[in-house]
């Protein structure tokens, strides 16, 4: 084989490929770079206003002396039912959590259903029962809703949109959002990463587990409430959904033009989730979560914040994973297990479609 005639010159050429940008592709929903481009190029120019430009999980509105938080989220997960929950759990928790991320007590939700012709009534019952239980658990009421049905083949069984209103209590004086993040802040994550994404994939890819990975979908308000009540100076809260930890931190870092420095050895990932990521070639930093959040607090309060969080079941595995540093050019940097550094970039394509 190797004795064949040897080349001494290369015919160097590389034909240029074209990337279509006149259509929506699945990556536009991935939560990464393309999603952000879509927002910046299509939505912001049309709707831009100071509140929208905060680019936070929810909008904080001043109404008659009170501060309300308002948010909306749509859920398109496939499969509808997965280990640890179903689309109903996501629909309630997702919106409740977005309100919590504004520092607001979640109060009222709306739910809009788009049902596909042919959907089994039992499936709908299961989803609705989950929503009822999740809402009760979160202390919210579903006060208004809407239902539409589309032809068979035009939907994935069920699409749900939930919108929510929460109240920022009078004793919460601080403004919680990316704008408040400071150099020197400690970055704390409320628990281990990647369970939701892997739970979804385990169904789609037919992965078998010795003990199944369950989605981490959960209401995180109790953890936020505990932090607020303890008087912890919260600079920013952000829940991790599709696109994972990396996406959330990139958004904040680029908003505030800071560098977020992480240490790989501190980032919590359960062993089976790590194994699944190895097999599927995924990076846990980008895998979706549904019941986890990051909180930015002054370094001096990090220990106190952890103590408070670890007393609440949904954040009992909270851990500090890094800190905010001064830097104009870098965004999120990870010190790897072996001590070298690398940048944790925004997701380029999409890792997994229809994950939440």
């Amino acid at each position: 084989m190797a004795d064949a005639k040897i080349m001494t010159e290369f015919n160097l050429s590389c034909p240029v490929p074209r990337v279509a940008d006149d259509r929506i592709v699945l990556a536009h929903g991935g939560g990464g770079r393309l999603t952000h481009q879509l927002i910046e190029k299509i939505f912001m120019p049309a709707f831009g206003n100071p509140m929208l430009e905060q680019r936070h999980d929810g909008a904080v509105l001043a109404v008659n002396g009170s501060r309300l938080a308002f948010t909306t989220d749509s859920f398109v997960v496939r499969p509808l039912i997965f280990p640890g929950g179903n689309i109903g759990d996501l629909a309630i928790h997702g919106t409740v959590n977005d309100l919590a991320m504004c520092g607001a007590r979640p109060l009222y939700l709306s739910a809009g259903f788009i049902l596909e012709e042919g959907l089994a009534m039992d499936t709908l019952r299961t989803v609705v029962a989950s929503m009822q239980a999740a809402a009760a658990g979160a202390g919210v009421q579903l006060v208004t809703g809407d239902t539409k049905v589309v032809d068979k083949g035009k939907g994935d069984g069920i699409f749900v949109n939930t919108s929510g209103i929460g109240l920022i209590e009078a004793n919460v004086k601080q403004t919680i959002g990316p704008g408040a993040v400071q150099v020197g802040d400690a970055v704390i994550v409320s628990g281990d990463l990647g369970r939701h994404g892997i739970a979804i994939l385990s169904v789609r890819e037919g992965l078998e587990f010795e003990s199944p990975i369950l989605s981490d979908t959960a209401c995180v308000w109790p953890a936020v409430e505990a932090l607020l009540n303890a008087g912890i100076q919260i600079h920013c809260l952000r829940d991790l959904t599709r696109g994972g930890l990396a996406t959330t931190l990139n958004e904040i870092a680029s908003d505030r033009k800071v560098c977020i420095k992480l240490e790989e050895t501190l980032i919590p990932v359960q062993e089976t989730v790590q194994s699944a990521c190895e097999i599927l070639g995924l990076d846990p930093l980008y895998v979706a979560n549904e019941g986890r959040f990051v909180v930015f607090v002054p370094a001096a309060q990090a220990d106190a914040a952890l103590e408070v969080m670890r007393k609440v079941p949904v954040s009992q595995e909270a851990v500090c994973i890094g800190k905010v540093e001064e830097s104009p050019s870098r965004t999120v940097v990870l010190q790897s297990r072996i001590g070298g550094n690398r940048v944790v970039d925004m997701l380029s394509g999409e890792q997994l479609p229809r994950i939440c």
Binding site: E208, E210, T272, S275, A276, E278, I279
Partner: protein, 86 residues
Amino acid sequence: MCLAVPGRVVEIMDEGDIAFRRGRVDFGGIRKDVSLAYTPEAEVGKYVLVHVGFAISVIDEDEAQRVFKYLEEMGGLEEELGEIPQ
């Protein structure tokens, strides 16, 4: 592209021709069926390296220790020579 992951063989399913021999492999808690067509020497309890659904090698557990033995020796030598790591 050369992604190959090590896993422990927990069960072997023989179907006559070696070309159809399959095994159940455990990867850190995840179980998958893989083809053992290219590792006739694979046994339950051994570790195999799996690439695109095929075991391509049985891991030599003695050789796997080689680098750690070398590092131990290096660490020991440095202590002897007085270069103690900070």
